[in-house]
Symmetry: C2
Subunit: 120 residues, 2 copies
């Protein structure tokens, strides 16, 4: 359930501007402000069912954008490579801290390779 909402938040974050104003309003309350369907219904003076239907419909629309563009998948990969690059740099820093010098060019090339992959 939480995974499902995180996924929806991520979709909304990337593609939310392609939704209608009504869908956006409801998903903002649902994803960004973390309100319940009931609370949103009360806020907007519509039925809980109407809120639910809008969320489900919007979710479908957003997933279809991700199917076509795959930008979340691409961004996830960026995060993965960037995290690995940071981890390598942490290792280099640890080496410097323990022996106060560093000269492993291969390790630096590994970092560069990861950063280059981000740019592809």
């Amino acid at each position: 359930m939480i995974e499902k909402k995180l996924r929806l938040s991520s979709l909304f974050n990337f593609y939310g501007n392609l939704l209608t104003d009504k869908q956006k309003e409801i998903l903002e309350q649902y994803c960004d402000f973390d309100l319940s369907l009931g609370e949103i219904a009360e806020n907007l003076k519509i039925s809980r069912q109407a809120v639910y239907d809008t969320v489900k419909r919007a979710e479908k629309v957003l997933e279809s954008y991700e199917d076509k563009l795959g930008l979340i998948a691409k961004f996830d990969l960026t995060i993965e490579k960037a995290s690995l690059a940071i981890k390598e740099i942490d290792l280099i820093e640890a080496k410097i801290n323990s022996s106060s010098e560093f000269n492993d060019l291969d390790q630096l090339e590994k970092v560069k390779q990861l950063i280059n992959e981000i740019m592809e």
Copy 2:
């Protein structure tokens, strides 16, 4: 003119999958295969004007996606930060090559900062 075509290619690369099949077919020939409007018209047995209109229309649609999502702008920023990070690493490598040691933690932090900014 070339800048305009590069921009269209970039838009097509990011958002092309949101176009209709017909638009996609024409933009693929125009952007990816770099054919002229006349050549595309001949290939598809339609008028040069029809090809032109489709390209213009698709361009408008694609620009409106970028207006709403700004993913090209975001990716350009990623490229910029990643390039700066690579440049920093090149400087570190040059230091190691000239003095065969390196211990500047601040410089490494700078690289990490840039990579962290990519993940934002």
